[in-house]
Each structure stands twice: as structure tokens, then as C-alpha cells.
Subunit: 412 residues, 2 copies
């Protein structure tokens, strides 16, 4: 079985400034094509250190994936180290230079002299297109090893990996059948999921079930291994069915789906529309909704009403209601949702009012207290939540919880 | 100058499931006591791989800091590898066994036989107390090198590092004072900054200037090293002044400050208020503004007007203006900002209208085209931008650019 090793290059990775997420991303991607990562090296922007890491990684594995050090400044040395590793020289590629110049021309910006270095590639190596930036990637086969260098900027690296590298790796590594499925869940904690699944989550099982958590979204990774792709896919599908049976409505989607995406699809399919009236989340919910391309099919406009006056003026929440129950109350949440829905003439309206902190909490109404209301022709459905952690977490969890409430309504 | 190298141990770090934040944390901590990290190795739970990584790290540096692999299960092999590296055997420590047994007794839990292995330490090494868990750390000096192993659980690792390791490292490394300052910049590219700073960014300089980029924000790390803290601070301050002189208004803040935070502080101090009218950014800007605690001092409410009807209905943008110039135009951006400011009665209004993609672009108005307008008593200031990358990036860059336009107005 072919193996891979990862080399991360950049001083910022060694001075405590930047968390290296590229290694995690690449490891996960390689796993999906059955390539285990056996080691990873992180070094600063130093020629000898980079060449040495290439050599070490090449000893550990058949495939060496490097990120970082392809920028235009003097401390970007990966392309020089790549050439040294191959025992060749850098060559200016006219087509690359042309592409980089174009990148700047299109933006009406003068290309810096520094950027010229990015048009140099080790002789005998292949340049990989970078659709998002000026740094091309580099790929070469030598002594039975495959060496690939990609930029360190995660968005550029990911797109280039998907477009230009993944298929090359599959070709180089030969067939190995691993199928990974992801199930996305929302509405309970990790330990509850683990309890519900019981022995299914045991180590060493095939399919293997791994569990990761991020902002309340629990992702179950089903990793099925078999002699061929078909067999592995069947195993993963069978496992997915069994997990869905056990978890029911806790499962909201698959693969990279977000709650907003799933909710958006349901709204579009059912030809329903939505508006929002946010207080403490201050745009967190509407941003999630409009992160999805094509959100205009179900969303036309919404409000962020932070002050009491705005809740009254924009949404028609009675001032005496706020006076009597406080802005953070079930009553005001309902009046906000009803007011927004009436004004926007939509099928659904979501309102959120709460205390995101760090200041503003009291004993009766502590930081993290949030009321979420979903209004529709079937009436108001209001949820009282108490989130912990910090302001950022409280705001995001409140918005996610609101989307989940709407999702469950749209399931019917 | 003494140097350090970090070894991270654990299969989960190489299968795409866990982001290694320990290396970043330790690197940052070491930098504050003047210990540069020159390399970092990540390997799975395999005896030979761990010993080899210890040897490599010991060749690179004087201090080797390892995390992970100290748990009670069979695949935790760090203590055995530590002993092999030292050329000694593991020894049962009665006091450690007693402490581990106590840990379980206090929790009314029966200690598993497996946990007994955690009471074994290489002969000649020192055990480090773990106040939060059962895995003790291990420390030993051999052949002029200092080797330290800590658990991989971040909370346990951090507490043990602060309580038992940091002072030992200072003793071992001798005193060396490092002061790190961060300068945050916005409004130009990395290569332009590099050109402006020229020789200041040379490697090996003291203070050293490192440069990192994230969503258009360029961070300059000034790292000054000297015999004592005072001297280092003076050097960093002098360097900061000189950088500020060169970069002028490109510098918006220091340390962890965000654009929204700096803009918010200026608004609050000048007792000014702001509203927003967002189209393509769909809440990205208002979320950034309200991410800041106390945003209610300068922000009361805002609109996300996605559809043309909403722009007309909520903000009073003339329908024939949209008809004539299109929703993505300087004219509509200005009408949105003016309409929002009039309705919210604020000192400033920011509007954003553009094409975030991936669909909806034309030759005249491509994806990434965004008009941003800041309206105030001094009139409308409108900027035409063409951002690249994906939807998420375009939205965030547009919101950041809007905040930066407002910042420059508030500087006056």
C-alpha cells in the first residue's frame, strides 16, 4: 500500500501565530482515497531545513505533499528547495509569467517585480494552475516518489488539491477502495450520540465510525474499506441506513451540507419564503442563510433590530410589551417574528432576542439566555435556550438552533 | 541561543480528524521566553516512529517537547519510546500509582487495570504532576538535551506546561528576553507591503519582521530579542514607530484588534452612530459590527435588502433608478446608503451591493464586482471593487473594505 507524508513550510507555523489546518485537511482528503499519512513535518522558511524535510518525508512515504513557501517574498523558498531536491535548476515559464501579469492587469493593479519569481518552476516539473492567486503549484515524479508543492493559503490550496492533485494521486497510488460518508447531526450532544450508537463506534470496526463536533454540529464519518469501490460503497450505504434509523431526525444532512443549505433547499423546493428579525445575533442568522448561493429564491430582506426603538419602529413591537416583559422575553420574540412576517409577507419569520454577553446578564436573565421564535400560518413556536461559552459561540449556536427549528417544521 | 523542537504523537493527528493546536500553543509560549522552535514532527502511535522523531528533534534542537501518547491504552507508546531514547527501562513508581488510584477513588470509579501503566516512568527521568488527569508527564536531561513529554489533551497539557515545564525551560535555556508586537494592516497586498518595507523584512534581522495574511488583513509580527525585557521592548517600540511611519494609514491596529473593533472604538469615542444596508453581503457587515461587545453604543438597527422590491420598499431606492442602472451600480449603492441613513437617523450609513456569485455575473458586471458607499453629512463616498476568490471571500472582503473606508473617514 502506498503511503503519504506531509511537509508544512512557514515561520508563522512555528512562532505560535498560525494553526496549521492544512495538514488536517490533506490527511482527511488522502484517507478518502485510501492513502494513509504516516508522518508530517513542519519547518520554517529555511532552504536546508526544507530540503531535509523533503528527504525525510520521501524516506517515510511514496508521496510527499508540501504546503507553503510559494509566495512572492524573499522568505518564500519552497520552489528553490524543490529544485534542489530534484537536483535541477529553476526555469522561467513564459506562460506562467503571462498568467500572473494577467491576474494583476484584470484587477487594474501594477504587478510587483517580486511576483516574477512565481513564474519560475524547477526544470522537469509541472506547474499546477492556481485559479485564486498568483502562486502556481509544482508537481514532479522522481526516483519512484511523487512530490507536490501547493500554496499555504488554505482556500487556494484546497481548490488546487481538488482540481489538479487528487486525481494524480489516485493514478499514482493505484486502486485502494475506501469510501467515506459523512452524516451531519444537530440537536443533541456528542456523548448522547455515542450512547445511542453504542458498539457501532468501537475502534477497529469496519466500517469505522468517527465523530467530530463543531459549534453544535456533530459529524459522523463512516469509513468503509473493501477490495473494491463497489463493495466499500455498499458497506457504507448499509451503515448509513442503520445510523439514520437509530438517530432519526437528529440527522439533518450528509457530506459538507450546512443547516442553512438544507433549510434553503427545503424552502426552495416547497416554494416557501422566509424573513428574519435578529437582535442579539446581529446578522449571524441572515449571513448563514445568504451564504448559500441562490438564497434569493426564498429570502428577500430582513432586519437587525438591536435597540428597543428599532424593534418598535421597524417591526411594530408594542413599546409597552418591551416595558412589561423586557426585550429578552418570549413575548417580544413572538411580536418580533409576527411583525417581521407581516411586513415582509413571507411564509416564515424567525426572530432571535437574547443576551450574547459578556456584559448585560442578570440573575433572572443570565448571559446566554436566548428566545427564538418561528412564526408561520400555523402560529408561533418559541424556544427558550441557555447557551454557554463566549459571545461568538452563543450567537452562532442561537442562529444554528433557529435554523434547526425551521428544518424540523419543513420536514412535515 | 538554545532552540526547541516539538513532537506531536497520535494517529488522530494524521487521519484528518484532529487539528493539532498544541504545536501552535507551545510555539507561542516558547517564543515568549526567547526559545525559537525550529521544527516540528507529527507521527502516529508507532514505537520506532516516535523514537526516530525524538532523535531527529534532538538533532535539530536542545529542547524536545513531545505531546500525546501517554494515555492508558495499548496504542499509547510515548513512555516506552522515551525510555528507549534514554537507553533505560520503565520503572513502577509507587507514589504515582497511589496518585492515580486516588484519582479514581475520589470519583467513585473503579480504576481499570490499564491505568497502571501510567505509573511507569523511565529510570532516571522525573514525573510531572497532572492536576487534571491520570497521565503524568515525563522530563529528563540527557547528553546536553532536555526531553519533555506531556499528555495530548490540550487542557491537561497547557496546565502542566505552565506549572511544571516553563520554569524548567527558562533555567535550562538561560535568560533571553523576547518581545513580540503585532501591527495589523489593511488596504494593500502582501507583496506591496514587502516592497514598502524592503530590507526591514530581511531574515536574520533583529527585530525580525514576519508577515501573515488572512482575508485581506496583513499582520506584521515584530519580534525583538535582547539581554533583558526592557531593552527588547524598546527595540520593538522603535521598530513599530518606523513601520508606522512607512506604512501610514495602512496600519489600522495592533495585537488582536479587528477592523470592526477599531471602527467601533472610534465611533463610540466620537459619539457617532452607524447603520447598514446590505445586499450581496447579506449580513456579513452587520455581524462583524455586532461581534464587538457594546456595539449598541453606536448601532441600533440595519437592513439586509436582497431583492429590488426590498431596496425600494425599505430604503426608498427609486424603482426607476434600479431599472436604469441595475441593482449593482454606484447610483443604487448611493441611494441605499442615503435611504438607510435617513430612516435610521445616524451619522453614517454603509451600503453594499454587488455580485457574490457563483452565478449572476455578466461581462459588464462580473462575479466579484461590488459597490460600497459610505454616506454622511459630508456626502457620499463610493468605491467600485472587483474581488476574486469564492462567494465567502468576496462577501467578507467587501465587508472588511467597507469598514476600512469608514475607518479612514473617522481618522480625520
Amino acid at each position: 500500500m502506498k503511503k503519504a507524508s506531509i511537509v508544512s513550510i512557514g515561520n508563522e507555523l512555528l512562532n505560535g501565530q498560525t494553526v496549521d489546518t492544512n495538514t488536517t485537511y490533506l490527511s482527511g482528503q488522502l484517507l478518502t482515497i485510501g492513502l494513509p499519512v504516516v508522518s508530517s513535518y513542519t519547518i520554517g522558511d529555511e532552504m536546508d531545513a526544507i530540503v531535509r524535510a523533503f528527504n525525510l518525508a520521501g524516506t517515510d512515504a511514496d508521496i510527499v505533499l508540501a504546503t507553503g513557501g510559494l509566495g512572492p517574498t524573499d522568505d518564500d523558498l519552497t520552489r528553490q528547495a524543490f529544485a534542489k531536491f530534484l537536483g535541477t535548476e529553476l526555469q522561467l515559464k513564459a506562460d506562467l509569467l503571462h498568467r500572473i501579469q494577467n491576474f494583476f492587469t484584470k484587477r487594474n493593479v501594477q504587478m510587483s517585480e517580486k511576483n516574477k519569481i512565481q513564474a519560475y518552476i524547477p526544470a522537469g516539473a509541472k506547474a499546477l494552475a492556481n485559479p485564486l492567486g498568483t502562486a502556481p503549484g509544482i508537481m514532479a515524479e522522481a526516483k519512484g516518489k511523487l512530490l507536490v508543492a501547493l500554496p499555504g493559503v488554505p482556500s487556494e490550496m484546497k481548490q488546487m488539491f481538488a482540481e489538479s492533485v487528487l486525481s494524480e494521486l489516485q493514478r499514482f497510488a493505484g486502486t485502494q477502495a475506501v469510501v467515506v460518508r459523512k452524516l451531519r447531526c444537530f440537536g443533541t450532544g456528542e456523548s448522547n450520540i455515542a450512547e445511542l450508537l453504542g458498539p457501532l463506534m468501537q475502534r477497529g470496526r469496519n466500517p469505522l465510525i468517527n465523530c467530530t463536533v463543531e459549534y453544535g454540529v456533530i459529524t459522523l464519518h463512516i469509513i468503509a474499506t473493501a477490495e473494491d469501490k463497489n463493495k466499500a460503497r455498499q458497506m457504507a450505504e448499509k451503515e448509513e441506513k442503520s445510523l439514520r434509523n437509530t438517530l432519526g431526525e437528529l440527522v439533518y444532512g450528509t457530506e459538507e451540507q450546512t443547516l442553512a443549505e438544507v433549510v434553503g433547499e427545503k424552502l426552495a423546493r416547497q416554494k416557501m419564503t422566509i424573513t428574519v428579525a435578529e437582535s442579539c445575533t446581529g446578522g449571524t442568522l441572515v449571513r448563514l442563510l445568504t451564504d448559500i448561493p441562490g438564497a434569493s429564491r426564498y429570502f428577500t430582506h430582513g432586519w437587525v433590530t438591536y435597540s428597543n426603538t428599532a424593534k418598535t419602529g421597524e417591526l411594530g413591537v408594542p413599546a409597552d410589551l418591551i416595558q412589561k416583559y423586557g426585550a429578552v422575553s418570549e413575548q417580544v420574540a413572538q411580536a418580533m417574528a409576527r411583525g417581521a412576517r407581516k411586513k415582509a409577507q413571507t411564509d416564515f419569520a424567525i426572530s432571535i432576542t437574547g443576551i450574547a454577553g459578556p456584559a448585560g446578564g442578570t440573575e433572572q436573565k443570565p448571559v446566554g439566555l436566548v428566545y427564538i421564535c418561528v412564526d408561520s400560518d400555523n402560529g408561533c413556536d418559541t424556544k427558550r435556550c441557555l447557551f454557554s461559552h463566549d459571545r461568538r459561540f452563543i450567537r452562532l449556536r442561537a442562529a444554528q438552533t433557529a435554523l434547526n427549528m425551521l428544518r424540523l417544521k419543513l420536514n412535515i
